[in-house]
C-alpha cells in the first residue's frame, strides 16, 4: 500500500501495530496479504501433492 508521499510499503504477513492504527484500510490490507499468503501456501501444497502423484484437492 502507499501513503500520501506514494512510498510503497511491503505489508508484513504478521501485521503490525502501525497497520492497526491505520484503521479500516490497514486492516483490509493486512488481511489481503494473509489471504494471498494462505492461497499461495495452498497452491504450493497442491503442487507438492501433484508432484508426488497424490492429486490436488
Amino acid at each position: 500500500m502507499a501513503d500520501k508521499r506514494r512510498q510503497q510499503y511491503k505489508i508484513p504477513l504478521e501485521g503490525s501495530l502501525g497497520l492497526l492504527a491505520l484503521g479500516y484500510e490497514g486492516l483490509v490490507a493486512w488481511r489481503k496479504v494473509r489471504h494471498d499468503a494462505g492461497q499461495l501456501k495452498e497452491m504450493n501444497i497442491n503442487k507438492q501433492k501433484k508432484e508426488k502423484g497424490e492429486g490436488a484437492e
Partner: protein, 916 residues
Amino acid sequence: MKAKRVLLIGWDAADWKVIDQLMARGHMPTLQSMVKNGVRGNLSTLQPVLSPMLWSSIATGKFADKHGIHGFTEPDYEGGSIRPISSRSRKARAIWNILTHQGKKSNVFSWWPSNPAEPINGIMVSNLYQRANKPLADGWPMLPGTVHPEDKERLFKRCRVHPDELTSAHILPFVPNAGKIDQKNDKRIGALSKMIADAASVHAASTWAMENSEWDFTAVYHDAIDHSCHGFMKFREPRMPGVPEDLFQNYKDVVDGMYRFHDMMLERCLQLAGPDTNVILISDHGFQSDHLRPLSLPQEPAAPAAEHRQHGIICCYGPDFKKGHTIYGSSILDITPTLLTLFGLPVGKDMDGKPLIQAFEEVPTVKSIDSGEMVEGHFGEHDRDHKVNAEDAKAALKQLVELGYIEDPGEDVKKAMKNTAIELKYNLSKVYASTGRPKQALELLEEILSEKDEYRFRIRIAENLKRLERYDDALSMLDEIDRMLQDERKRTNKRLQEKSSEEAKDEEKDDKKDKVKSELAQLKKQKAETKKRFMSVQLLMADIYKSQKVFEKAIEVLQQLSERAPNSISVLKSTADCLIKMEKWKDARNAYISILNIDPHDHGAHRGLAFCNNKLGKFEEAVESALTATELVYQYPAAHFILGDSLYHLGQDEYAAKSLEVALAMRPAYTAPRILLDKMAKEGRYTPSDARELTIEEMDSSSINQQLVVQAEKNAGVKTYTGTKHGEITVVSGLPRSGTSLMMQMLHAGGMEIFTDEVREADENNPKGFYEHEKVKRLATNNAWIKEARGKVMKVVSQLTKFLPPNHDYKVVVMKRDIGEVTLSQHKMLVRLGKAKQSDSYPLRLEKTLRAQYDGAKKWMEAQDHVSFIEVDYHDTLNNPAVIAKQISTFLGKDLDIDAMIAQVDKDLYRSKTKK
C-alpha cells in the same frame, strides 16, 4: 462557527500525568501537536467514578439521577437475570438524539452504554460490538442490536479484530519479553491481546465511517487505556513495593505502550477528520500512576474504581478553538453543552454543565431553552418495547466479570438481581451525597440497610447524618459500626490463629496446604481491610467533633490515628483542618508541610499552607503557596482570595484586586473577597471594575460563571498575579567536563541567582566549585522541587535534560566541547578520584556513548516547545569571552554584567588537551 463538523474522542482513564511524561519524551507526537495548536485542561469527574455513569453524563450534560444510568449492570426482571446496563435505561436525551432532531448526521462508536444501538440519523455501533468471548475457531457472531442501520451489519462485522488474529508483532511492542512468558500460568498476555483487538476493532469501524459516510458529528469511545491501567499500572515505573522483579520487568511498558498506540490511532483520526473539523479529546477520569497508586483495593463491588483519579483530560483542537491555551474548571458535564454551542444549538437549562467558552477563539453566542426533554419530534430514540435478549445480555455480562468491573453474580440469580438493584441505589445515593443532597442520599441508604446490612452502607449513613448536622445520630451509628468491626476483628483473629496452626502441621498433604495458605492470605487481607475501616470510622468521628466545636476531643482521636498511620494524608488533612479551627497556625502549617512531603501536588495543602502563612504574617510565603495552589487547580476561589489578601498586605494593590476579582467571579456568594475589595475601595486603593457589577447582578450564586471569569480576567489585563519570571528556568547543560561549571560561574558573576546546595565542594577537578544541586541528580525520578529553581540558573547534565518537566519554560545554555577532549577529561577526573588507572587505554566506547548522549539531548530539546537553547563552544568561551558573554546575555534577555562574566574565564583551567 468556522468548522463544518465535530469529532469527539473518548479515552477512558487517560491522564495528563502519564501523557505529559510521554510527550516530553516525544512519544505522543500527535497529541503533543494538538496541545500546541489547541486548548488543554483538566476535566473534573463525578462521584461515583464509574464509567457507564460518567460517559452517560458526558453524552447528556446531566448528573446520573437525571440520565438514569446508575451502574454497570441492571436487573432484568422480564428475563429473570441481570444484564449489562443498556441504552434503553438512559432516560435523558444524548447529544446524538438532539442532533438527529436537528437533521444532523451522527456516527457513534462503542459509547458506554449504547447497546442496543439507537436508530439515530447516522451510524451507531454499540459498546458490545468489539467483545470476543470465545476463540475465533468457535465462531464470532455479532449480537443483534449491535449496529444501526442493520444494512451495515455485514460491513462492520468485518471490521472487528479478534484477539486470536494478533501476532507477536502486535504484542512485543508492549511486552518485549512476551516470548519467554509461560502463558499457561500467566494470562496477562491474553488480556492484553483483547485490549489491543478491542481498540483496533472500534478504530477500524470508526475510520471506515469517517472516510465513507457523511457526518456532522462523530463520537468514538475507547476503553483500552482504562483496562490496561487496571491490569498493568502496578507494574509501571517506578516499581511499587510488593511487585516481583520478573513481573515488573515483563510488564512495565504496557501502559505507556497503550498510550502510544492510541496516539498512533489519533493521528489517523485527525487525517480523516481534516482541517475543517473541531476535535475534542476527553477522558472521564484519571488514573493513579505514581506513588499514590493504591497498594490494595477495598473489598467491595466496583473496587477497581479506587485506582481512578479525580481529573481526566480535555484537549480541544480545530478552527474554533484557541491555540496554545489552557482552560480551568472544566467538568465532564460541560461536554454536551460545549458541543451544542459549537453547532449553534440551545443548551437545556436542565443540563448541569456549561459550554466551555474559555476554549473558544471567539466568545460564542450561547442559546438556551428550558429543557430539550419535552420537545416532540424524531430524536432517534428506542421504542419503548425494544427488548434485550437475555442470552445476549449474559454473554456481555461475562465480559464485565472477566474485566473485574463486577462481581460474578453466582448461581443464585434472584440474590444477584437483588444485589444489583442495591448497587444501583447505592451508586445513586453517592450521586445525591456528592451534589449537596444528603437528605435524599440518607433516605436511599436507609432503604438499602433495611435489605442488606454492610459496613459501607452504615458509614455512608453516618456521613450523611453529619452533613445534615444530626451529630448525635451520626455518632450513635459510628458506635454501632465500631462494635461490629470489633466483633469482625475478633472473628478474623481467631480464624487466623486456627489456620496458622493448621499450616504449621507437617503431616498435611500439599493440596490442602495450598488451600490453607490461600485462606490465610485472604484472612490477612480481611484484617487489613478491617483496620482501614476502623480508621475511617475514627476519622469521621473526629470530623463530627470538629463540627460540634469539641476540638480537643477531635485532636485526641486524630493523634491516636496518627500514631498508627503517621503517613496517612487523610489523617494529616483532618488534623491540619482542626488546628486551623483552633487557630494554631504554626502547628497547622507543619501538618500541611507533612502532607506536601508525601504529595507535592496536593493543591488543598498548598492552599492550607498559604492560609497559615498569611495568618502568621508571612505574606511572601503565603503568595508563593497560593500561587502554587492556583497553578494546580485554577478554579479555586479560596486560593485566589488568600493570594489577593496576602498581596494586599504586601502593598501589591493592583494584583491583589485582580486576584480578589477572580475569586469573586468564580464564587459570587463568597463574602470575604467582596469585603476586602470594599475596604480597599474605601482606602482609595481600588476602583471597582465593570466585571464586579455584572457579577452581583447576573450570577447564579451556587455555580461558577465562566463568562464572568473570562471577563474578569480580560478586565484585569492578565489572568492573575503570576509574579516575575515565574515559570522560567535557566539551565546550563552539556556533557560533564565540557565547561558547564565555567558557564555557571560566568552567569553567577553576571548577576544570576544560582540553584545550588553547595554540597559538592570545589576540588582539584573543579577548583572554583561545581555549582550543582543534589536534587537535580534525582531529576529522572523526582521533579517536584523544580519550582524552587524558578528565576534561577541550574546545572543539568545532557543525559538528564529530557526529564525537565514540561510545566516550565527553559532557556538552556548548552556547552559544546570536542567529545574526544571531554572523554579524556572525564578519564583524567576518574584517575584523580582513584576510579580508573592512568595506564587504561583510550575509552573509545565511552566516546561513542557520550556523542550519542549529547546528540540525543539536542534532538530532544529541538522537539520541545517549552525549551529554547543556544550552543556555546568551550574554546570560544575561553578565547573570546566578551563575545560569548554578550551572546548569552542577549539569548537570556537579561542585562548581565559582561565585565564580571569575562573576569571569570581563566585559561589555566583549560584541561586535557587532546592527545590521542
